[in-house]
């Protein structure tokens, strides 16, 4: 497997098959780990960084069974490929735009990815559709154990796993659940979610965790506290508390829209379809905003003109790097908008 082959499909995490997937798009757990005996990456020189990368790559590669995963040298990769991996949530934006020896091991089903030489030496992530944190924890815990048999991690009895930034110290765990909240956005009740999350010291962000806008009504809820709570306690906060609450709020909002504002709701959904299926040039943000309304239409059973697979594919493939990968060449913004509209028309007709 390689990035070219990967780019034609859609990762399992976007497949809409996991539990509560009408609201929960995907769950992710990430662990930050550093190898004992090496400084953090902010102070390593080029040679040391390269040596560290070789050590990490070797250890990770040794754990890959058969052809289940492949390693991408991010420093060597071209810009479109780097951006493509960001769009597929396989690497962070920081890893894509950074400098020096660094890479990522990607499992073919994209359920697991390991960034090497990001902010921390290792950032192990597991990703799955719907709300499945327990499965994810078992997976990442087991893999982390396998890794720690071949690498000594920087660890302190009091502070736990030592990380480059003190905000990750302790468990080094970051749990993120991506939720689709179009009805709460329309009914202006998102503040309920944000308040509930803040009360539990959880952060709410837009889709890629940066910028000021939540593209496609997709929000990411993640923990900030990594010290003084066990991994199980952090996961439980999501599984038992915040996510069931958010799912209930969104379902209730969808219910109240179909009861009280059916015409306006239908209008939203069908206008979205009208534009997506007919536009001759369209930007990423507008596409995602309209696809979001289609997704809500499908889940409220107001619209059946599109299947989940196509919808998931489109959420991913309307993005800039995916369009350029499909075209096999760099496209400027205007050309991308034209290509994007053509893709949408083709898939929605």
């Amino acid at each position: 497997m390689n990035l070219d082959q990967l780019s034609t499909g859609t990762g399992e995490w976007l497949s809409n098959q996991g539990p509560d997937s009408d609201v929960v798009i995907s769950s992710r757990i990430r662990l930050a780990r550093n190898v004992a005996g090496y400084p953090f990456l902010s102070t390593t020189g080029d040679t040391e960084r390269m040596e560290l990368y070789r050590t990490l790559e070797e250890a990770v590669s040794d754990l890959i069974r058969d052809d289940e995963a492949f390693v991408v040298d991010v420093d060597d990769a071209d810009e479109i490929d780097r951006q493509l991996m960001v769009e597929r949530h396989l690497i962070s934006r920081q890893h894509a735009t950074g400098d020096g020896s660094r890479g990522v091991a990607i499992w073919n089903d994209e359920r697991r990815a390991i960034m090497m030489n990001e902010e921390d030496h290792l950032r192990i992530q597991v990703l799955r559709s719907g709300l499945q944190l327990e499965h994810l924890w078992n997976d990442i815990d087991e893999f982390d154990n396998r890794l720690s048999k071949v690498l000594d991690f920087a660890y302190d009895q009091q502070l736990g796993f030592l990380t480059a930034c003190p905000t990750n110290v302790g468990t080094g765990i970051r749990v993120s659940v991506m939720v689709h909240l179009p009805a709460l956005k329309l009914t202006q009740e998102l503040d309920r979610v944000i308040r509930a999350a803040r009360d539990m010291r959880l952060a709410v962000r837009g889709m890629f965790g940066e910028g000021t806008d939540a593209a496609g009504d997709l929000y990411q809820i993640s923990n900030q506290t990594t010290l003084g709570k066990s991994e199980a306690e952090v996961i439980e906060q999501f599984d038992q508390d915040i996510i069931p609450k958010v799912v209930d709020y969104e379902r209730a909002a969808r219910g109240s829209l179909t009861k009280r504002h059916l015409h306006q709701l239908d209008d939203r959904i069908f206008r979205a379809y009208g534009i997506l299926a007919n536009a001759r040039t369209i930007g990423t943000e507008e596409s995602l905003a309209l696809l979001s309304h289609l997704r809500m239409g499908v889940h409220t059973e107001r619209f059946n003109g599109i299947d989940f697979q196509t919808l998931s594919d489109l959420f991913l493939h309307v993005q800039p790097a995916h369009l350029q990968k499909t075209a096999s060449r760099p496209l400027d913004g205007a050309a991308r908008s034209i290509a994007r509209s053509a893709l949408l028309r083709e898939r929605l007709s």
């Binding site: 953090f40 736990g160 003190p166 503040d191 962000r205 010290l227």
Partner: protein, 167 residues
């Protein structure tokens, strides 16, 4: 446009929204209220730096200390508090010890007051370390169980602690 936020009526409105659902209406909010409503999102990675800046400015005003925190330097990698402030990252694992005086209060503020790891212990870590961390966690869980008057759980935890201690 120069008027007050419609929600808090205190700060200047900085975000102007045209809602079209279920009907058209304009709203004018300040940044804080807009963020609270999920209309805008401030950048995410500012927390550490904000915490650090705040902490450093507090230190400066307490004049009693002759050596300011800004002079602290890691004897292993040479990272100073200024470096940490500029990059938002420490230089090496040893910084946690050598810059402890500055880092610890920061860690506690970032982690709801916690200063003790209670999670996973690496597989190859000394058995003793694992045991101590487990014990710390169990004791804390025991305290919570007692606080919540969950005596059945408390009894179970006490047994676990005893068997671990005698192991």
């Amino acid at each position: 446009m120069n008027f007050l936020c419609q929600k808090c009526n205190k700060q200047k409105a900085a975000v102007h929204i045209m809602d079209t659902f279920p009907e058209k209406r304009e709203r004018h909010l300040c940044e804080d209220c807009a963020e609270q409503e999920g209309v805008i999102y401030k950048k995410s990675d500012e927390t550490t730096n904000e915490l650090l800046q705040e902490f450093l400015s507090q230190q400066k005003t307490s004049t009693s200390k002759k050596v300011t925190v800004e002079d602290a330097v890691c004897d292993e990698c040479g990272t100073t508090i200024r470096d940490f402030q500029a990059k938002g990252q420490l230089g090496c694992p040893h910084c946690y010890h050598s810059l402890r005086r500055v880092i610890m209060p920061l860690i506690q503020r970032a982690h709801e007051g916690a200063d003790q790891h209670v999670g996973k212990v690496p597989v190859r870590a000394d058995e003793q370390v694992r045991k101590q961390t487990d014990l710390l966690r169990l004791r804390r869980e025991l305290k919570d169980a007692v606080d919540q008057e969950n005596y059945e759980l408390a009894a179970r935890l006490r047994d676990e602690i005893q068997s671990l201690e005698s192991a």
